[in-house]
Assembly symmetry: C2
Homo-oligomer: 337 residues x 2
Amino acid sequence: MATPSIKEVAHRAGVSVGTVSNVLNRPWIVAPATRQRVQDSISALGFVRNEAARHLRAGKSRTVGLVVLDVANPFFTDLAEGAEALAYEHDTVVMLCNSKTDPVREGHHLDQLEQQRVLGILITPFDSNDPRLTALVDRGTPVVLVDRTADRGLCSVSVDDQLGGRLAGNHLIESGHRRIAFIGGPFSMQQVADRMAGIKTVVGQADHVDLQEFEVDVTGVVEGRAIGEKVAAMPAKSRPTAAFLANDLLALGFLQAMAVAGLRVPRDMAIVGYDDIDFARAAAVPLSSVRQPAELLGRSAMELLQEEVEAAERHRHRQVIFQPDLIVRESSDFKRR
Amino acid sequence: MATPSIKEVAHRAGVSVGTVSNVLNRPWIVAPATRQRVQDSISALGFVRNEAARHLRAGKSRTVGLVVLDVANPFFTDLAEGAEALAYEHDTVVMLCNSKTDPVREGHHLDQLEQQRVLGILITPFDSNDPRLTALVDRGTPVVLVDRTADRGLCSVSVDDQLGGRLAGNHLIESGHRRIAFIGGPFSMQQVADRMAGIKTVVGQADHVDLQEFEVDVTGVVEGRAIGEKVAAMPAKSRPTAAFLANDLLALGFLQAMAVAGLRVPRDMAIVGYDDIDFARAAAVPLSSVRQPAELLGRSAMELLQEEVEAAERHRHRQVIFQPDLIVRESSDFKRR
DNA sequence: CTTGGTGATTTAGACGATTCAATTGGGCGC
DNA sequence: GCGCCCAATTGAATCGTCTAAATCACCAAG
């Protein structure tokens, strides 16, 4: 009843386990007649290879871990898609883990992945300087940072977040806005910090432009709506006329709050999001957004990892950086004054 | 350099491997002094358990597979969330797999999961009568169908899709619509077929109501927009005045196409979606939708699986069915004539 | 009829953790 | 001082697969 092992297959086919293993791994060295007999036995018994045993024997597994901040965010879904596509070509399996921007969950997933002796890990870490991460790398698990730039000693693929911030900032300033809000996830997260730094730079260079910062813990639609309500409640004199949000989910929630509060977008409030997820275009007011090449990001990360895994020693860590694009849609398409 | 094994830990601590294993699994039977020594050795060496070896020895793994039709769909994300929460309590890991409504990908994932000897599989199958699935079950992997009702011989958790269809249909009929469109993913998928059957029932009972059916292959925003353009291009006399879409992603795309075509929602076209994802509320016109308790669905599925895994023989397969709710929002809030 | 060679198959260890029966050592009672 | 018992520890077998080395069978050449 229990799943048969190679041993039963061998017995039924009247050969040794070695031969069965050969049929599985080097069929060409087995005589055709024997091969057929073994294959018949395999299908008769419904034999399925035991990955754990293979892994133990081989000393390395065939799975790669991918730890993302939020699977519900289409940006990461696309990213996962790219990673998985390449993994498939390498006969490798991707284990998708959702840290939900929670260091505890993240740590738990890392522990599990290390215990599984994964080939390597692609991760958008909560904190790229996390000592746990460093320890993991020191113990020998290849890690590629995703959507985050590694300083050294690690591969990474990322998008120039400062540029993204500058693109959004310039656009809003050129549209005539003088009071701009930046709204984003924990400022301790590098992406968020960089996007903020980007817009700060251009705001600093412009005259009479004021940047207000709002911090949120979680970057979902709900939180965006909450901040939106808060901003809408400000007196019109001091209320920002434009908002740049660190991701589209936030922006969508924010947009919705504007509608509820009776503020017109983009006339009363211009909005620029980040990631350019599919929904951005489908929003009440189509959302301007800074687009990141998510799928490409995932693919490249996997590429770097495979390279590191295969090339072993002669591998040099690299930091790949992509450029974001600003996609202007109706939500910010309004020249003030 | 390579990850140390229990053997090195034992050697360094001056004990046998058995003792190290005891520290790991039954610390209380080890003398405190020894235990401490072993623990020091573990952290000095950076020892990490090898899950493959544990699994091989134990004969069963600690991971559960979850195969969904589309990770990008928030419905499945929420579902995964529920499943994962419960898995965590059982010291179990969830392996999230995305079949993308593609039988080939689905098959590939099932193969991988079976090779990994997962504890069990939660799956929203493309086709619940797939012989591959049956074979898998026969070979001994516990399977729980999710968002789909098993006939017998399997556990399942699902939502009454026919009821969902009836709810939507009744609402639209009562609102005075006489030409209604049903738009959905492959009709071969049971969920879709059931939702359609549901609305068909009530349409059949009403007088002078006409139902038009539109089939799509993939259920994303893009496809919804495409169908929307097609429908909008119909002559006003024969064009439906209301559309019921088999999921919210489709509905959002459809909604967008209406806006582009200059059709007012809900006046010219009422829309009802399915799943009630967060975005539904945040849409251009807040979307009416049939809500499914996604997280609860995932949790319950995992519950059934754990029950089957633990209770072994005295387990009786059960089919749990939840009730959907119709959430009426602006997109269908208009009485015709 | 023996020797050599070739191609096919078998044998025998790993791999790392777990478990259980077997052993050791110390303390205590008599 | 002897024996006994219990707690602590050890040693060996096991899980399923893979691989390198060893063996086997068979045939051709000498």
